[in-house]
Subunit: 386 residues, 2 copies
């Protein structure tokens, strides 16, 4: 008996040390450039950076709004790690003697109004966006000239596996928007929307549909002097000019007609959805409240909610919208009311009023991409299922 | 009479000063990130960099294999310019106290085996790749699992304007390869292959065809230790393992069958071409000499040539290939023989032997993207015209 207990204790000690070892073992981030070892990540979510800067006075890893000092080794490399980060994708940068620059080890992603570094912290549910040997859809870069904004724009179009060869089949469409400081590349790069869909479709958990990811930033083509006039104290205006009404004009009058005339869509309200994250969620709110005759399914990821007052003001919304999906990261819930009322409470009230609502909370994540990947993963299983 | 001469002299002086002013006026590079002013370029081809690094000891602009020292101003910005560069696209980086990092002002491009900064020097013929209000094709990111390399690969597929809607029309295909240290993104990003084609098709100068741009780097998925064994003295082997034979295997047995079964191609030798730049040209040489029954049109841009000895060894090449297009930048011509004989002389001999050959020299450019953009622009007007 004693021996058994000792054996059990020994096993427990071994397993504990093994788990700790696992937690602190660093491996290259999956968002690194080919052949680049750093940045590395461990199971605790720490990010370890390393950069060669032999003549620098100081180097910092700037992630999650905190700057971590790196230490220089004898060869001239600066090395150090961050506190644990949440699961999933994070923007970051290096600070070399006061210069904020991308890390030469990572791939680059558009966020915080710049192309910059990104790192992937392993997630317990990373299978949902893993690259697997399943049939893959494709993501197209679609360039067009927008008369409304007098500028060239591009939109990225995901078409599901089979789209190229089933040329007599038409598909529903989801218009899916990025957040503030991001652009039309976000959902297919750091969002991995295409891989989430490929995996869901292969598992029979989502019907195949087209996703259109557009540039929701409103940019006139105009002289720099006028752009400067938009800025106050060196800060760009927030929200950016035209963030809702002008983008709505372009979406309804240029993008949707172009998509419906170019791709094999089912071009009616019943087969058209809109969703977005953060600013994209707020755009979704304004646009679908104003035009429920265009979209039958609505998703807002960390981007506010629809309140009873909203549907009182826009009574057609409740009549015409078949699905209202609202989500937040659990770690941002206490601040989620800043976009117009508590989202969970608002959604509960609309559900009681008879709407088909879903409220999703992403566990242990904040206002960040892991919340939005999971939100799309949930939304896609509901959106065109009926 | 004298007055006329004085007037002419005055006009001449004015125009001269105007031209010089034009030459030295700096404007933001068209490859900059949205809203970023630097790097700037002028009509002489100088590149001016500016970066905020208040605590740095030194900052350099590293372009064209030369490092230019920048000077610090009172606010902590480092500023300076390069010697004139050739027209077109150039990779570059910043050096901050010994750290080689991307410039936070530019967009990023894959070359020199890394994602790094790029700058556009205005070119006299930049109209050929300008973004214009013409019908645009799309570029798809197509992910696939390669059994031969036991890894996930992706290929970018340009389909011409009208492809999406003319679902009963099939198209010829050009397989177009990047150079050493580059990847499958090169031709559609810095190469602007899609814009070159959109403009040619709109002008009626090229027939519409599909372009397939694949990853020509051979990467087994294997333990890092084995990868390390490939490196000698910290340098990767050159040419990389499998650069020709293994890539040929993947192209012929995986990529071409996949493209022909997924897209509306005319799946025969008469409607299939292969071309490439530098290493991609050398791959084109090896693959089309070995398999002229697969490709009827062949292009090698700054990537060697086909010699009389080659066609003696592979007699089917002359019989089966309808077009052989060879090109170089004028500034690399004196070294062009390093890839197996003088390309102009070789091509002249093959022409005399009865082949349909074209030799093109890109004026005042070297082993760089402006030579290759122009080469594609020329090649596309010849390749499927008959």
């Amino acid at each position: 008996m004693k021996n058994s207990i000792l054996t059990l204790l020994a096993m427990f000690a071994f397993l504990t040390s093994f788990c700790i070892a696992q937690d602190t073992t660093y491996t290259p981030s999956s968002a690194n450039q080919p052949g680049k070892e750093y940045p590395m990540v461990n199971a605790k979510g720490q990010v370890k950076a390393k950069v060669f800067a032999p003549d620098a006075n100081y180097v910092q890893l700037d992630i999650g709004a905190v700057k971590y000092d790196l230490k220089k080794d004898k060869q001239g490399y600066w090395i150090g790690e961050s506190a644990p980060q949440d699961e999933g994708f994070h923007y970051y940068q290096l600070n070399i003697d006061g210069a904020s620059v991308p890390d030469p080890g990572s791939k680059y992603f558009y966020g915080a109004s710049r192309w910059g570094s990104g790192v992937e912290v392993p997630a317990h549910d990373e299978e949902i966006y893993a690259l697997k040997d399943v049939p893959h859809g494709t993501v197209r870069e679609h360039i067009f000239y927008s008369e409304i904004s007098d500028s060239y724009k591009r939109t990225f179009v995901y078409t599901p596996p089979g789209y190229e060869t089933n040329t007599d089949k038409s598909y529903p469409v989801l218009y899916l928007q990025h957040g503030g400081g991001e652009n039309e590349t976000g959902w297919s790069r750091q969002g991995k929307a295409n891989l989430i869909m490929d995996n869901l479709i292969a598992a029979g958990k989502s019907k195949p549909f087209i996703i259109v990811m557009s540039d929701g930033n409103w940019t006139f083509r105009r002289p720099p002097s006028q752009n400067e006039a938009d800025e106050e104290d060196g800060q760009r205006q927030w929200p950016p000019k035209g963030w809702a009404d002008e983008f709505m004009n372009m979406l309804l009058n240029e993008i949707i007609p172009m998509i419906d005339s170019t791709y094999r869509t089912i071009a009616d309200q019943d087969h058209r959805a809109m969703a977005g994250l953060s600013m994209g969620g707020m755009q979704t709110r304004v646009i679908t409240l104003a035009h429920p005759e265009v979209f039958s399914r609505v998703g807002m990821f960390s981007g506010g909610s629809i309140s009873p007052a909203d549907v009182k003001e826009h009574p057609n919304f409740m009549d015409q919208v078949d699905l209202l999906f609202i989500s937040n990261g659990s770690l941002e819930l206490e601040n989620a009311g800043r976009f117009g009322g508590d989202p969970q409470e608002n959604t509960q009230k609309l559900d009681e009023m008879g709407m088909n609502t879903h409220f999703y909370i992403s566990p242990e994540t904040a206002h960040e991409w892991q919340s939005w990947r999971r939100s799309l993963h949930q939304f896609a299983q509901l959106v065109f299922q009926d």
